[in-house]
Structures are given as C-alpha cells and as structure tokens.
C-alpha cells in the first residue's frame, strides 16, 4: 500500500460523499424475521404464539431472548426454556427493542480493523439507550421510543468506517484511524437516519438520529434528539467513570476505548458543528481534563488515574452544564438523579451487549 499524501483524505471523502449521495452505501439489511417482529409488535392484536413462531425462524434472536429472559433483570422464578415463556416475561415492547438492537448489532456493528472501537461504540449505544429511557421517565414524557433513539443515534458510524476502509482498499490507500473516524463522524447522522428509515422505524426515531447533533433545527422531534444526545453524554460519563475509578484495564484497552469516545463527544455537545475531530492525542486530553471550557464543555476522559476525584468532578460538572439539559427543563440535581440510576442503566445495557 502507498502512504497517504495530502490529497488522500480529500479523495476518500469525495468518494465517500458520492456513495452517500448516490445511495451506493451497502445499507445493512435486517433479516425478514426482525422486520416482521417490528411490524407484529406494533400491532395491538398480535398474539404471543404468533410472535414466538416467527422468532423461531431466527436462531440468534431466539437464543438472545432466552438469555435475556433468564437474566437477573427479570428475576425468573423458574428457568425460562421456551420462547413463548420468554415473550410473556419480557413483553412485546422489550421484544421489539431487543429485536432491533440485536439486529443492529449484528448487521451494523461489525467493522474489521476497528473491532475494539466498535465494541466500545456498541456498549456506549446500549448505555445511551438505557439513559434515554430514564430521561423520558424523569420528564414525564413517553419513554416508549426513547430507548431506540438513544441506542441507534450512532448506528451510522460502523457502516461509514467500513465503507471508508473499502474505498481505501480499492485505491490502495491507508489512512489513520482517527481520520476514518472523523469522516464517519461527519456523515453518521445522515447515514444512520437513512438506515433507520430503511428498517421501518418510526419517524420520531429517524428524525432524532438525523438531528441529534443539531437538535435546535429538528422540525418536529427536537426534544427527542436532545434526549438522545444527552443520553449519549451520560453514557460516555458512565463508561469513562468506570475507568477513572480504577477498573482493571490495560493502557491499550483504555486507548482503544477512548478513541471513539472522544470522537463522539466532539460534536455531541455542540449542536450544528459536526466537524472533524481536532488532532488530539490522549496526552493532550489528559491535560485538558482540568479545563472543561477548553474542551468545549464536554466530558473529558481522565486516563491518568491521578487526581481521579477532581477529574470526575470536572467531568460531572461539564456534563451537567450541557445547555440541552436546561432546554429539556432538567437541572443539575436532575442530572445527579439520572446518574444515580446507573445501576439500572447498567442492567438494561447488559441486555443489549
């Protein structure tokens, strides 16, 4: 492979853009079973038997549902062995959410060469989904679709990484990971929304994915887009918080996990400015840990382990000062309350990872 020259990024970007505009991205397709599950669970008349017959057609989905139904979250008094039992334990809504989540994970969140980052991305998506539902409840607004908005806001990332990789392979180029991520960041909302649309998800979910970085411009579902982006910020905080409390983790793992986190935070907290990430490395980010202002007010990951407490406080304060919280009428103590529900969030999150 040849080394990239200064025009490489521009060339890759142009080709990527062309593929997006001309609809040539290979959109991951949901299995027929999952598409039908979405349809069926939306109808009020569906019976458990009908649904279980359908799910039998997708072994991965069936196995996942059984695993979830047997998880501590649902405290089964007896072991759940049949799908019918699982369906009645989990409920239609959870089944629908799980079906979409599982499908999204298997068809969209697989990118050779970016495995670790994409794994982090998925964990974060799962946490964001769980937080989005909590925000919905706290605001006394329907929590029905919030989970999907939170979960799927970044669903466009992996396919863009994948396509960028394919373009590079085709041209014989090699570009640094962070450049690939920054390209993905630019277009992930558009592509993610298109993907959700093609899966037949409700308009609310599609619009909130499209507008999650520029919620103020959303025609109808601005608040749902706000919920999604804030849920992602909370998820970032939760996952990073785990690290700064000294969870055993190798430096390499931390670096791999932090990379997408930084990329995601960049645009998240500045609606409308979905630009490429600045050329920061982890050293620099550590330095900026004490200065939320310099970091665009975003939660900053502290990898040093030193001064953990003040780093966590700074991140928490930066998180709370997101204007979108105020725009949803959520105050700093409401954010504390949301974070105090982290155990519930982790439990819901585990259902999806």
């Amino acid at each position: 492979m040849t080394a990239p020259d200064s025009n490489v990024t521009a060339t890759v970007r142009t080709m990527l853009e062309r593929k997006i505009v001309e609809g040539e991205l290979q959109m991951p397709v949901l299995s027929t079973v999952v598409t039908q599950v979405i349809e069926l669970t939306r109808s009020m008349e569906t019976s458990g038997t009908e649904l279980s017959e359908l799910i039998h057609g997708d072994q991965a989905l069936a196995a996942h549902l059984l695993r979830v139904a047997n998880s501590p979250l649902y405290l089964p008094s007896v072991q759940i062995v049949s799908l019918q039992q699982a369906i009645s334990r989990l409920g239609m809504r959870v089944i629908a959410d799980l079906a979409v989540a599982l499908a999204a994970k298997s068809v969209a969140f697989k990118v050779p060469g970016h495995e670790d980052e994409v794994r982090y991305l998925w964990r974060r998506a799962a946490a964001a989904g769980a937080f989005a539902r909590e925000i919905g409840r706290m605001r006394r607004k329907s929590a029905e679709s919030a989970l999907l908005c939170g979960l799927l806001q970044n669903v466009g990332f992996p396919i863009l990484l994948q396509t960028t990789q394919e373009i590079c392979d085709e041209l014989g180029y090699e570009i640094p990971k962070e450049v690939a991520w920054s390209l993905a960041e630019e277009y992930h909302a558009t592509v993610g929304a298109r993907m959700a649309g093609s899966w037949g998800l409700p308009d609310l979910v599609v619009e909130s994915i499209y507008y999650h970085h520029m919620y103020a411009q959303a025609p109808q579902y601005g608040d749902d887009a706000r919920v999604a982006i804030l849920a992602d910020a909370l998820a970032g905080y939760l996952l990073d918080d785990g690290k700064s409390q000294g969870a055993p983790q190798s430096g390499a793992e931390a670096a791999q996990e932090a990379q997408p986190a930084l990329s995601l935070c960049q645009g998240d907290l500045q609606p409308g400015q979905v630009g490429p990430i600045p050329d920061v490395d982890l050293e620099l980010v550590e330095g900026a840990g004490g200065d939320a202002e310099a970091n665009g007010g975003r939660p900053v990951g502290s990898e040093s382990g030193e001064d953990v407490e003040s780093g966590a406080d700074v991140r928490r304060d930066a998180l709370k000062s997101q204007p979108a919280f105020g725009e949803l009428d959520l105050y700093p103590d409401d954010v504390d309350e949301l974070l105090s529900r982290s155990d519930d969030v982790r439990e819901t999150m585990e259902l999806f990872v």
Partner: protein, 471 residues
Amino acid sequence: MSTESFDFVIIGSGPAGQKAAIQARKSGKSCLLIEKSRTLGGACVHRGTIPSKTMRETTLIMRRFQRRTTALSSNMEIPENMRIDSLMLSLDRVIDGHVRYMTNQLERNGVEIAHGRGRFLGPNEIEVQSPSGQKRVVRGNTIILAAGSQPRRPPGIPIDHERIYDSDSILSMTYLPDSLIVLGGGVIASEYASIFAALGVKVTMIDKAPRPLFFLEEDLTDRFVKDFQAMGGEYIGQDRVARMEWNGFDAVEVETDGGQKRRADKALCALGRVPNLEGVGANKIGLELTDRGHVKVDEFLRTSVPGVYACGDIIGPPSLVSSSMEQGRRAARHALGLDLGDSQEMIPTGIYTIPEISSVGLTEAEAWERYEHVAVGRAEFGELARGQIAGETYGMLKIVADVATGKLLGVHIIGEGATELVHVGQMAMMSGSPVSCFAESIFNFPTMAEAYRVAYLDLHEEHEKKQLQVA
C-alpha cells in the same frame, strides 16, 4: 453573592403568575417573574389545557367527517396504529402563537423574566438557580407563589410512562392504543376518556364516585355517561383499584376492590393533582398547608407568612385557568393596597369532554337545599333549528330558577358549544335579570342561544300546569 431587590418576586409563569406580574407592573412596581421551564405559560400551555383541547378539536373534526361520510355511505375508519402526534398537528403552531403573545405582553409591560428554579431562602429572599447551575439571590417586598401543580402518583400505581401514563405524559404516547383504562372520574379523567372513546379506543373508567363528574348536575352526567357508553366506553363507579400492573407481556391489568378485572393496552392515571411544593423551600419559611397539602391562604390570597401570597393551582380547587388568573390579579392588587372589586364567586365550569359540558351557578339539587320552590326548564338541542342544521342534536340546556323571585340560579349545558353558550346565562345571573328575560329578548335565528328561550318556555309551561307562578 450580591442580592437584587424587587417590589414583586413571582414564582411561576402560569396563568396565575402572569396576571400577578402584569398587575404589579401596571402599578409601576418592579417585578421579577421566575420560571423554571424553558418556555412561559405553565401547565395550561404545555401539559394541559391547550394540548388536550387541540387533540379534542381534531377528534371532533374527524367525528363530524365520519358522521357525514357515513351519511354518504363511504365509511372513514380510524387507521390502526394511528400516531397520537398526528392528531395534534397544529399543536406547535398553537403553542408558539400563545407563548409569543404571552411573552410579548410580559415584555411590553416591563416584567423581568428569570429562567431558573426559585426556592425560598427566607420570607423575602429567593434563590434562583439557572439550568446551568448558576445561582442568584433576589429579595422581594412581596412574593407571590404561583408554582402550579403536577399529577398525583398514588401509591401502588406503577406509572412508567410507557404503559401506565399520567395526564402529563399521556399525549406523548406514540400510537393510539386499542384499549385504555382510565383511573379517575374528575375533569381530566373524563376529558381524556371521552376523547379516546370518540377515537374508537375501548375505554374503561374506574372511580370511587357513583358517576363521573360527580359535582355536576345529574342530568348532564347521565347524558355524558350515555354518550360515553354509546361510544363503547364503560364506567365502573363506587369502586377502587386494588391492584394495577403491566402483565409483562401485552396488557395492563387491573383488579378492583369490588372484584372487577379489566385489561387494556395502556392506562391513564388521573387521580388528582398535587401542588408543586417540592424544592420550593416552603418549610424553610414555615408556610402553612391545608389538610390536602395545598398552600393555605385567606380570602386575600395571603399565606401564613407575612408578605408571601399564593394563587392558582398551588392553593387547590377550583384549579382552572380563569380562577388562577383572577387570583393572581387579586393577590397583586391586595399587596398593592388597591381595590379588589367584588369577589367573583360566579366562576363557570367548562369541561371539554365529548360532548362538551358547562355549568354556572347552582345545580337543581343545590337550589332545592336553599330555596323553597325551584323551577327548571330544559331545551333539547334537537329542537333548535341551528342544532338540526349543524347536526348537533345531541345536547341539552337546563335552567334552574327560584319560583318566588324568578331569579335565575343556575345554567347547565351539555353539547357542542356549551362552554360558549353558558356565558349568556352567566351574564343574566350577574345582572340579576329574571329568568323571563329569555322570553323577552330577541336572539339571532338560527342560533344555539335560542335554547335559553326554549328552556324558559319549558319551565313556564311546566309551572303553568302546576299552577305555580314564576315571577
């Protein structure tokens, strides 16, 4: 931290707070209005009156259309999986227009607005915390607490806003359900129950009262129940919920003390509202509360703490926009030492059920408790030319009068336009006109207001038969 001072500091920008603020400014006093939400207007604009009425309006249009297309023998079905927000397409425009109007009015009058949460630090001192966490302390010679109310969460009802909603979250439900259980028989419960029933949802209301809207004239509630049943609704009265839960699969299940069992796709809990006292710091200044937990006030809206007034939903019933506005205005006028005018006892009740209900003055039963001889007259909307033309034949107006003096004591209406029509009767009552004025006045033809004349003639005929004289 420096402290700014104002003549008036008002917490809450709902109808009560707004009117208090404007009154204060009209008298040349400085005024800070604190609102914790991003937009002004309170429950009326964002969670209650306007959203529910917008949905109701669409429902009515659909029903009328349905009735007429059925007459033309092409049926318009309400689609399965209908999105709730598609029933409120004009909502944003209505709210934007209303908020703009209110904001302009407040700004034009020079009311300073602070976006933040207000909390008492002392009787004259309020801390305002902005959404970003910044704090400022302000002092007010007079403080008016108009923080409104929120839905009550009764113990044992697991409101999750996904399957079991409250009146704040119900309209953010994604799809129109097939069936709905409504807990409660008050105004909000009855409004939503009838709107959803009119949309073809199978609705079951459960309440402790023998009939919904128990405080109203029985004739009206009987009609309401009949119409509700005709739309497929069911009312379970004199009963209470013993258990309510999501069955973990496909339905919310309810069991009552009376042994009734029902299941539905979704449920709405509308079992009253509680004052927004959480976080206001009421106990910091020793605000006295009523038995039901509302802020206790005297006839001038003064609380137990000198210099602190309260008005609107936070002081309890009647909990209407009209009464809240009037209380806000009166509280400010009292603090300013201005004449309060006559206390307006005569507040009409407007209930936006389908069909609409409105009432002013005494019910027939109340009138019999206070007067020796009471006369009533009724007019069916079907007897009116306008009712026939508009296809609004399902409705009734009832008047209640004192036989000895001919005084009009009450007007009770069910049917479309009831909340407008009631004002004719209200004016007659306020001016002390005898009930016979409806026969002597000339009304436009064809109008629904003719119902007053028809009701009077009915009353007169009834009493001629009994050879009583209505003065």
